[in-house]
């Protein structure tokens, strides 16, 4: 991804309205690719996010941990446009206001998401699942007349190898194992050539070997993509994260390396309920 370095002088007005989304307009000169500032979300009086501020750097691999109800999934909902915050601002780079965009626009801008529960299209084959995710013109008419070219086919096959489903590319996704579905969904993220990948509980239901390979995969992707991983498995988090953010009751409790975080008395208190 070369586009991180490209700037958007004089384009601020247009891109801040979130209309022009071509590559190169993403402005990450100051480091962060995602800016969340003072974001609050409440559901029927329950504050899912409470004045949360968080910055994710371009090319970074960040892990989010926190007890149940800390607001991890709500945070992803806010970034991807599923939930509108009551207050606060969410920017993609310095100029693109995500709060003015809906889910498809945010996805096309390059923020892609893997859901907690693996969400693949059961009726379609592995290949077709990836084909739908492929970065392309996603309006109705071009989709109707879309035909894969050789390059795109190669790209799909390459991703199929990356996610280890080479032997299964003609199988319906519905009959894959839980772990394979997780990988297929990660593959669908990669097909979109995302700038930011939000990965919610990637190793749930995976065997020990699969977990190791997932860790390798995520580590190999950092640098090219900014990745935010939500995970409960501390061992897994330790194996991939250089920086960990702990959420508690809708705001950031602390940030740092895994060791720093695990030795933080506040974190220990939150987790052990002390």
């Amino acid at each position: 991804m070369t586009s991180f370095a490209e700037n958007s002088f004089g384009e601020d007005e247009k891109s801040s309205s979130g209309i022009l989304l071509a590559e190169g307009q993403l402005d990450t000169r100051h480091g962060p690719i995602l800016y969340l500032e003072n974001v609050s979300v409440s559901f029927d009086g329950f504050k899912a996010l409470n004045e949360l501020s968080l910055y994710i750097d371009a090319g970074e691999l960040r892990c989010l941990i926190g007890p149940n109800g800390a607001g991890k999934t709500t945070l992803m909902d806010v970034i991807t446009g599923k939930t509108r915050p009551d207050t606060g601002s969410v920017f993609f780079g310095q100029t693109i206001d995500l709060l003015k965009m809906d889910e498809p626009a945010i996805a096309q801008a390059g923020i892609c998401r893997k859901f907690q529960k693996p969400s693949v299209f059961d009726a379609l084959t592995v290949f077709e699942n990836l084909e739908l995710a492929l970065k392309a013109d996603k309006r109705t008419w071009p989709t109707l007349f879309n035909r894969l070219n050789g390059e795109q086919r190669d790209r799909i096959n390459q991703i199929i190898e990356t996610i280890g489903l080479g032997a299964h590319h003609q199988l319906r996704a519905g009959i894959l194992s839980h772990g394979q579905k997780q990988w297929l969904e990660i593959g669908m993220l990669l097909m979109q050539e995302p700038k930011v990948m939000l990965v919610d509980e990637p190793i749930a239901g995976m065997t020990h070997q699969e977990i190791e390979r997932t860790a390798e995969l995520l580590l190999s992707l950092q640098g090219q993509h900014s990745i935010v991983v939500v995970e409960h498995d501390m061992e897994f988090v330790r194996s991939i994260a250089s920086k960990v953010t702990v959420l508690h009751e809708g705001s950031v409790l602390t940030e740092g390396t895994m060791d720093e975080v695990q030795n933080d008395p506040r974190v220990i208190q939150v987790y052990l309920g002390g």
Partner: protein, 363 residues
């Protein structure tokens, strides 16, 4: 190995061959063979089969919306009826001075209501091409407006089903009113000519059967092409995981909208072919019950296969003809029973049952 494809093409081909046989052989046997020949088909049979084929087209269009896109539309009959009314208006204007009142311009019911001139929305319907345009345009525009509002507001599931039902019910009530200018309760009937030919003649009836068959086969092939494009796969994906599709960057509401509009147009064409064959169109075609019946055809045949809808529509309507002839009072009960049995025991309909048999043979 693509399990979904097993036996798919074979069945589709068989259905096409059967349709071609009905379309071309039956009219021939009706027109060319003498009435006492054992291979002769009566005009009654010809009309009946023609009617079934239009129902099959209607079922096919609902399968696109429900079976592939997952929108359980319970008001699909409204588009069928609108297409039928557009054709009926053309046929009314062909009557000319041969009506009871002999008015050269106004249909009988307007003379009866003491109307002095033709309402503006009846203008143009004396031209066949204009009527054909309206047959697709009126259902298409209504589906577009309705779909635009509903899908953009992300109304889904049972709520959407209920408002589609409300839509057809509202139209039913509106078309009942004499002031609407569509013949009120009685609807449009007493047709004389279609394109200058006597609509009661055997030759025209045979032609209508052929036209219905050809249209159905064409629509079937077009729909099959459509569901095998990338758009078809996106639509299937919407059925199974709507929000996931949105997070892939597709505008789900636009995909739903265009499928809905296309299906409404097909339903309109089905209605236009139906009306000259049964000789009447009245507000009862808007009845919610009719729309529910379409759902039963598709469910029984097997949704999400296209040919299942055709098989289901023909079978259910054939049973309806037989049963309402023998014991009219039990028809609705048996229809209800069929629906319960299909829902509980045959979630993939008749086609699903056949496919399972095929798979067992293979393994």
């Amino acid at each position: 190995m693509k399990l979904t494809g097993l036996g798919h093409d074979k069945t589709a081909t068989m259905v096409l061959v059967a349709l071609a046989a009905v379309t071309f052989i039956i009219p021939f046997c009706n027109l060319a063979l003498p009435a006492d020949s054992p291979m002769h088909f009566s005009a009654y049979t010809v009309s009946l089969l023609g009617k079934y084929l239009t129902f099959a087209l209607l079922g096919l269009s609902l399968d696109l919306v429900w079976g592939y896109c997952g929108i359980l539309a319970l008001g699909h009959g409204a588009f069928f009826a609108l297409g039928g009314y557009a054709m009926g208006m053309y046929l009314m204007r062909q009557i000319g001075t041969r009506g009871v009142y002999g008015d050269p311009l106004l249909p009988d019911f307007m003379v009866f209501l003491n109307w002095k001139e033709l309402p503006w929305y009846w203008l143009g319907f004396d031209h066949f091409w204009f009527a054909l345009l309206m047959v697709v345009l009126v259902p298409g525009v209504l589906a577009f407006v309705f779909g635009w509002l509903a899908f953009r507001s992300r109304v889904t599931g049972v709520y959407l089903s209920i408002i589609t039902q409300a839509l057809t019910y509202a139209l039913l009530l509106a078309f009942f009113r004499n002031e609407m200018g569509f013949g009120g309760n009685n609807g449009l009937t007493d047709f004389k000519e279609l394109l200058g030919f006597n609509i009661q003649s055997e030759a025209v009836r045979a032609m209508l059967l052929m036209m219905s068959g050809i249209t159905l086969m064409t629509a079937f092939l077009v729909c099959r092409w459509l569901v095998n494009t990338k758009l078809g796969r996106v639509v299937t994906a919407i059925r199974d995981q709507e929000s996931r599709v949105r997070f892939l960057g597709y505008r789900v509401e636009m995909f739903k909208l265009w499928i809905f509009v296309f299906a409404a147009m097909l339903a309109g064409v089905a209605g236009a072919l139906y009306v000259p064959q049964v000789g009447i169109i009245n507000p009862s075609e808007f009845s919610p019950l009719n729309s529910l019946e379409i759902v039963i055809w598709v469910a029984m045949g097997g949704r999400g296969t296209l040919y299942g809808a055709i098989i289901g529509a023909v079978l259910v309507n054939y049973s309806k003809t037989v049963l309402t002839g023998l014991m009219p009072e039990i028809w609705l009960f048996s229809l209800g029973a069929v629906f319960v049995i299909v829902t509980v025991l045959l979630p993939d309909g008749i086609v699903g049952l056949l496919r399972r048999r095929l798979q067992e043979q293979h393994s």
